[in-house]
C-alpha cells in the first residue's frame, strides 16, 4: 500500500507518523488510507463527528487492532505487529473513552501499576524482598504519589478508584498513563462529561504535561478545548482524513464544516449549485 502524496516524510521533528492506515470491520471501512504526522512536543488534536473512526485509529495505533494495511513509525522505528503492552513499552500511553480504571484498587495502586512497565522486580524479588526490590518498591510508591499530586488527586490516594468523582477518575487515568513514562500521551475524550470549570483546569494540565516534554494526541468533542489547546488538528469523517492543519485553518475548511453540519446540508448545497 503506497502512501498518497500527502504522506509525511521521515523528519527529525516527527514523533509519530501514520501512513495509509486502513481498517475494515465487516462491511464498514472504519479507516481508509489515513496518513498523518505528529511532531515532537505538540498537542495534536483528532476530531470528527461520531463514528468518524477516531477511537478506531487509537485502537489500531495502540495495538488493540492490527491495521489491514499501512503502518506507524514511532520515534524512528515501526510499530508493526506490536501487542498493546509492547506499544506501551515503546512509549505510547493511552486513556479510554469510557474510563477503564482498576476500579477496586486504590488511586495510588492504579498509578503504581502504571510503573510496571518501567520496573523489573520478578517473583523471586517479591518473595525474598531483597534490597534492590525494596528500593524499587519505594521508588514506585514515591513516583505514584508525585503523579497523583501532579494531576491534582493527591488527596484521594487511598480511596478506591471507583469512589472518586468522575472528573478525578479522568485525571487518575492520565496519571496512570503518565506513570509509564510515555513519549506520546494519547487521550480519548478526556473532557467528556466535565463542566466548564473542570475543562478549563484540564486544559491547564494538558499544557503543563506538554511543557514537561510529553507530546499529546487528543481526541476531543469539546471544540472550544480543541481549538484553544491544540497546535494542529486532524479531522476524520467516515474513516477518511478530510483535513489536517492548524486549529484555525481547519475551522475554516469547507469539508470540515460540511462534515459537522451534516451530509444533508452539503448535498443540498451541491444540488442547488
Amino acid at each position: 500500500m503506497s502512501a498518497p502524496g500527502t504522506a509525511p516524510q521521515a523528519d527529525a521533528g516527527v514523533l509519530l507518523a501514520g501512513r495509509g492506515i486502513n481498517k475494515r470491520f465487516g462491511g464498514v471501512q472504519a479507516l481508509s488510507d489515513v496518513s498523518f504526522a505528529i511532531r515532537k512536543g505538540e498537542i495534536y488534536g483528532l476530531i470528527g463527528p461520531n463514528g468518524a473512526g477516531k477511537t478506531s485509529l487509537f485502537n489500531v495505533l495502540t495495538g488493540i487492532y492490527t491495521p489491514d494495511s499501512g503502518n506507524f513509525v514511532f520515534d524512528g522505528a515501526p510499530l508493526d505487529g506490536l501487542k498493546p503492552n509492547e506499544v506501551a513499552k515503546r512509549g505510547i500511553a493511552r486513556t479510554f473513552q469510557n474510563i477503564r480504571l482498576f476500579a477496586n484498587l486504590s488511586a495510588l495502586e492504579n498509578v503504581m501499576i502504571g510503573r510496571h512497565v518501567r520496573t523489573r522486580a520478578g517473583v523471586f524479588g517479591a518473595m525474598l524482598r531483597n534490597p534492590a526490590t525494596l528500593d524499587e518498591e519505594r521508588a514506585i510508591e514515591r513516583r505514584a504519589f508525585e503523579l497523583l499530586e501532579y494531576v491534582g488527586v493527591g488527596r484521594r490516594a487511598n480511596d478506591l478508584a471507583r469512589h472518586l468523582p468522575y472528573g478525578d477518575q479522568r485525571r487518575l487515568e492520565i496519571a496512570r498513563a503518565l506513570a509509564t513514562d510515555p513519549k506520546l500521551l494519547a487521550l480519548d475524550e478526556p473532557a467528556a462529561g466535565m463542566n466548564a470549570t473542570e475543562t478549563e483546569s484540564l486544559k491547564g494540565l494538558l499544557e503543563r504535561i506538554r511543557g514537561d516534554g510529553t507530546t499529546i494526541l487528543l481526541i476531543e468533542h469539546d471544540m472550544k478545548l480543541v481549538m484553544s489547546v491544540c497546535d494542529r488538528v486532524l479531522v476524520l469523517d467516515y474513516g477518511k482524513k478530510i483535513a489536517e492543519g492548524t486549529a484555525g485553518a481547519v475551522q475554516e475548511d469547507p469539508a470540515v464544516i460540511s462534515a459537522y453540519l451534516g451530509g444533508d446540508v452539503a448535498l443540498n448545497l451541491k444540488g442547488a449549485a
Binding site: 495502540t62 488493540i64 501487542k83 498493546p84 503492552n85 506501551a88 513499552k89 500511553a93 493511552r94 479510554f96 477503564r100 480504571l101 482498576f102 476500579a103 477496586n104 484498587l105 486504590s106 495510588l108 495502586e109 503504581m112 501499576i113 502504571g114 510503573r115 510496571h116 512497565v117 520496573t119 522486580a121 520478578g122 517473583v123 524479588g125 517479591a126 518473595m127 524482598r129 526490590t133 524499587e136 518498591e137 519505594r138 514506585i140 510508591e141 514515591r142 504519589f145 508525585e146 490516594a157 487511598n158 478506591l160 496512570r176 498513563a177 506513570a179 509509564t180
Partner: protein
C-alpha cells in the same frame, strides 16, 4: 487479626498477641491428641487445605482466573510423591528431593493448562479447567494399562513417610516426657511450611507482580494498555498456584500413606474454591479462615449430628453426610446474600508517603 499484626501501631500488644498465638499453635496438637489422635490428623488435613486454598487464591483471588480443576495439581503432586517413594516402582527418594520435583511437575501442568486457555475468561475458563481436572483424574484411573504407572483405581499404597536419616515421621518418639506421634510431627512440619506459604502469599500480593495480577483481574484491556504482558502474568499465576498445589499433594501422599484417584474428584476442586470464596477472595487471612472453617465443619458435624438427634428425637433421622451438604449449601446461600465479598473481604491497603518531597 489486624491489631495483632500491626507491629508498628502498638508494638507491645502486637508482639504479646503474636507470642500468644504462637504458643497456642505449639501446644495445640497435644490438646488435640488428648481428644484423640484423629483430631490431629484432621488438623493436618485442614492445614493441607489451607495450602490448597492459598494456592488457588493466587489464580482466582489475585489474577481473577476462575479455575474449577485446581485439585488436578494436588493430584499431580500426590502421585509424583507416591510413585517416587513407594514399593510400586521400588523407588524411595527422600522427601526433600521429591517435593520440589512434585512442585515442578505440577507447575509444568499449570502452564500446560494455562497456555491454551489464555484468551478465555469467566465461565468459559471455568468449563475448560473443570474438564482439565477430570482429564487428570481419568488418566490416573486408567494409566494401569498397558504399562502400569498409576495402579489405576486401586491407588498406590505403602507410600513412604517423611524421613530424615533414621528419623521417621511415622514413629512415635518420646521427647521431654511428651509423646510425639507421627501426626504431631507432621503438624509441626506443616506449621513451618504454612508460615512460609503465608509470608510468600502476602509478599506476592504486595509486589509488582501481585499488582499486575490485580490489574488483570480488574480490567485486562487496561492492564495490557499499561504495558503488562498479560500472557506471561496469567501463565505465572497458573504456574505459581499449581506449584503450591503440587507441594500440598506431596505432603498429602506422605501423611496418608495411600492415595487413589478417589481423593481428587471434582467435589474437592469445588470445596477448595468454596473455601476461597467463603473466606474472601484475594484476602490471604480470609482464605485461611475459609479453609479452616470448611475443613473442620464436617468433622465437627460428624461428631455432633448423631448425639444431637439422639437427644432430640431418640433416634437418628438424617445421616451426618446428608446434613453436611445441606448446611454447606445453606451457608453458601446465606454468604452470597449477606457477605458476597466473603467473611473477610480484601481491604485496600492504606499507604502514606514516607518521604515528602
Amino acid at each position: 487479626m489486624r491489631a495483632i499484626l500491626d507491629t508498628k501501631g502498638n508494638p507491645k500488644l502486637a508482639w504479646a498477641g503474636l507470642a500468644l498465638v504462637g504458643i497456642a499453635l505449639l501446644v495445640l496438637p497435644f490438646a488435640l491428641a488428648a481428644m484423640g489422635t484423629a483430631w490431629v490428623r484432621i488438623t493436618n488435613l485442614a492445614i493441607l487445605f489451607v495450602f490448597l486454598a492459598l494456592g488457588l487464591n493466587i489464580v482466582v483471588g489475585f489474577a481473577g482466573l476462575l479455575d474449577l480443576g485446581y485439585i488436578a495439581f494436588y493430584a499431580v503432586g500426590a502421585y509424583v510423591y507416591a510413585l517416587l517413594a513407594s514399593p510400586h516402582f521400588n523407588i524411595h527418594l527422600p522427601f526433600w528431593v521429591i517435593l520440589p520435583i512434585g512442585a515442578a511437575v505440577a507447575c509444568m501442568f499449570g502452564v500446560l493448562l494455562g497456555a491454551p486457555t489464555l484468551k478465555l475468561r469467566g465461565d468459559y475458563l471455568a468449563i475448560v479447567t473443570l474438564g482439565f481436572g477430570e482429564i487428570i483424574r481419568i488418566f490416573l484411573n486408567n494409566l494401569s494399562q498397558p504399562v502400569n504407572i498409576t495402579n489405576g483405581p486401586q491407588g498406590v499404597t505403602l507410600i513412604d513417610p517423611f524421613r530424615i536419616g533414621p528419623f521417621s515421621f511415622r514413629d512415635t518418639e518420646a521427647f521431654l516426657g511428651l509423646a510425639f506421634s507421627g501426626p504431631i510431627k507432621y503438624y509441626y512440619f506443616l506449621l513451618v511450611v504454612l508460615l512460609a506459604i503465608i509470608v510468600i502469599n502476602l509478599r506476592l500480593q504486595d509486589s509488582r507482580i501481585g499488582r499486575a495480577w490485580e490489574a488483570i483481574r480488574e480490567d485486562e484491556v487496561a492492564a495490557r494498555a499499561m504495558g503488562i504482558n498479560t500472557r506471561n502474568m496469567k501463565l505465572l499465576a497458573f504456574a505459581m498456584g499449581a506449584s503450591f498445589g503440587g507441594i500440598a499433594g506431596g505432603m498429602f501422599s506422605a501423611i496418608q500413606g495411600f492415595i487413589s484417584p478417589e481423593s481428587f474428584i471434582l467435589l474437592e476442586s469445588i470445596m477448595v474454591l468454596a473455601m476461597v470464596v467463603l473466606g474472601g477472595m484475594g484476602n490471604v487471612w480470609g482464605v485461611i479462615v475459609g479453609a479452616l472453617l470448611l475443613s473442620f465443619a464436617p468433622e465437627v458435624l460428624r461428631y455432633t449430628v448423631e448425639p444431637v438427634q439422639q437427644a432430640l428425637f431418640g433416634r437418628m433421622l438424617v445421616e451426618p453426610e446428608v446434613i453436611r451438604m445441606l448446611l454447606f449449601g445453606f451457608a453458601l446461600v446465606l454468604m452470597m446474600l449477606f457477605r458476597p465479598a466473603g467473611l473477610l473481604p480484601s481491604a485496600t491497603r492504606k499507604r502514606e508517603l514516607e518521604v515528602r518531597r
